[in-house]
């Protein structure tokens, strides 16, 4: 049985302008020790999906349907007191911006100890001991002294380590990381990713990595969800996805990436803007930006159907298999030619 199983999740927000369909029919499962990469642009619904999973959307404005089973137990719509027992202890979360997610007027130690005391029946001294230990584990130098510092006394990378420490202090089974390295320099990003991998190996933790960086996904994930317009448009093992992506949007994402080994003059660009979730386009949500659009795409939403490799690689696209294969081969050849020219 999967550790986290999400089925047909829907999140809609009521706004003055109408109903925003932020998440539409997202399903996936996550096993112990695995990493799920979730990629998509801003507004693709990737963050809202996991806020919904954690029960963190404001239910006064949101309408949520579907099922979220954590360790066999349904947690969607569960009471906030039972959710609070899970959040921060069995499921940890890291947010993107470490400066706004830490309390600026409390010492780091206080914030870490709070997380321990909330979920465990231990003394303050024990909570402090655990806090120092976790700071050492995330490789903060002189942890026993720095625990009494305020967030502003830390650099960006150090703050992100504190956020990770806070998410990990109760040894969660699942870690949900929402763009944990986006605001950081490449060198710091490499440190943080290495640290997450190390901690995952030690604790057999499952990780959900929400990001817009395909490079990060390629380095860390086992399985990948590509999200667009509130839906999963492609779902595959990481090797399959990068070896043979099937959906035109994924092609566009891969093509628009400047790469170190490719020196073409122009990047492939996806024209236009991400779709409005208030008035989504009819049919396939990618059809207004797709280069291979035909009539059926404008009428009918394609199913998330299995491709040639079976259930492990599913995608939404009306294009016939042969045609998709032909287009991808051509793109791959073009990329390879540029790569060897470099």
């Amino acid at each position: 049985m999967a550790l986290l199983e999400v089925n047909d999740l829907q999140t809609r927000f009521r706004t003055d302008d109408g109903i925003v369909k932020a998440v539409s029919g997202v399903s996936f499962s996550l096993e112990k020790g695995e990493t799920l990469g979730v990629v998509g642009e801003s507004g693709s619904g990737k963050s809202v999906t996991f806020l919904t999973v954690m029960g963190l959307v404001d239910m006064r404005h949101a309408q949520v349907e579907g099922s979220v089973r954590f360790d066999g137990q349904e947690i969607l719509g569960a009471s906030s007191s039972s959710l609070q027992k899970i959040r921060g202890s069995r499921i940890g979360m890291i947010f993107q911006d470490p400066m706004t997610s830490l309390n600026p007027v409390k010492r780091i130690g206080w914030q870490l100890e709070e997380a321990v005391l909330l979920h465990n029946d231990v003394t303050h001294a024990e909570a402090r001991r655990r806090s120092v230990e976790i700071l050492q584990e995330v490789e903060i130098p002189r942890a026993d002294a720095r625990i009494d510092d305020y967030p502003h006394q830390f650099s960006g990378g150090m703050r992100q380590r504190v956020m990770i420490a806070m998410a990990l202090i109760n040894k969660p089974e699942v870690l949900i990381a929402d763009e944990p390295t986006t605001a950081l320099d490449v060198t710091t990003q490499a440190q943080i990713l290495r640290l997450m991998r190390k901690l995952q190996d030690e604790h057999e933790m499952a990780i959900v990595m929400i990001t817009h960086d395909l490079g990060v996904v390629a380095e860390l994930a086992n399985d990948v969800l590509v999200m667009y317009g509130g839906r999963v448009v492609e779902q595959a093992q990481v090797d399959h996805l990068f070896a043979k992506p099937e959906m035109p949007y994924t092609w566009g994402l891969l093509g628009s990436l400047p790469r170190l080994n490719v020196t073409s003059e122009r990047l492939e660009q996806i024209p236009g803007q991400p779709p409005s979730l208030l008035h989504p386009p009819k049919g396939c949500s990618f059809n207004p930006r797709c280069a291979y659009v035909f009539d059926r795409c404008r009428q009918e939403l394609p199913e998330l159907a299995a491709g040639a490799v079976g259930d492990e690689h599913r995608f939404r696209c009306h294009l016939p298999d042969e045609e998709r294969a032909r287009i991808w081969e051509a793109k791959k050849a073009a990329l390879a030619a540029e790569g060897s020219a470099a």
């Binding site: 650099s155 990003q189 440190q191 490079g215 380095e219 990481v238 566009g252 990436l257 400047p258 122009r266």
Partner: protein
Amino acid sequence: MSELLAVENLQKYFPVTRGMVFQKEVGQVKAVDGVNFTLEKGQTLGVVGESGCGKSTMARCIARLLEPTGGKIVFDGRDITHLNRNEMRPIRRDMMMVFQDPYASLNARKRVGSIVGEPLEVHGIGTEQDRKRRVQELLEIVGLNPEHFNRFPHEFSGGQRQRIGIARALVINPKLVICDEPVSALDVSVQAQILNLLKDLQQDFDLTYIFIAHDLNVVRHVSDRVMVMYLGAPVETGGKTELYTEPKHPYTGALLSAVPIADPTLGRARKQIVLEGDVPSPLNPPEACRFHPRCPRFVDGKCNVDPPELTPVAGNPEHEFACHFPLERWPMDEDEIRRRPALAGAAE
């Protein structure tokens, strides 16, 4: 081709003061400390480095938004290092900036037309009719609808706002455009649109760019020459191909190896050099080679005593690096990088 910009030994120190009323200088932050480069017309210089390495401060000094502490800036044949506000004014027409945050760099209370037209107004160019025509022309060039003239910035997405920022920078026909992290806040697909746009505009209008970014992929894509900065000074400069395929400075190597590769097979095969720790404080920079506390090739008694000079690579005067123990080939893994310095040190 002619030289548009020459920067010699540029320095910018910020005083650190103590005391509420009688401020006493107790130290200096050497944000930029000895930057040299020249930039030909129509070329792009990419500047990379971690946050806090002084790349933005350098750009602001060149645009004379900050007063340099020392050094010399020659723009279009004229020394502009110590010109005052009035003398700078006509020169500002020729150098414009595009900023990182498209949300913060546009005045939320002004309409797009007056934001883009402001440089024309400031410099008193044309009549109101001329200006409006020029602004609409520019909006079209950067891929916006000229009818958006009367809209407010909040009605646009991040990518569109960045286009507005670019239109504002180009409306007055500058010679030099300084782009400070212009695509860092954007999604990949939009980032590609903006990068392509900047390239097209460079060709169409013969622009010269200084392009600052922390993303090495982006910098390689747009630049002709690349300068890698660390703690206020360049550690390596070179043509983009040499710098990326044969880096000499260990810091450049570490930066290159830290970039995630969007290909799981290649990614698993390569060995990363992960630097420990953060960039040290520019208030008390390390002695001699400023990179030595984090350097995998550190040799005690050399790197922390003798500051390395920028020296050209044999056979390529365009490619310079400041290191006593440069990388002898690329790619290298962490062990190879560490092994070498002891031998080289003994030989000296």
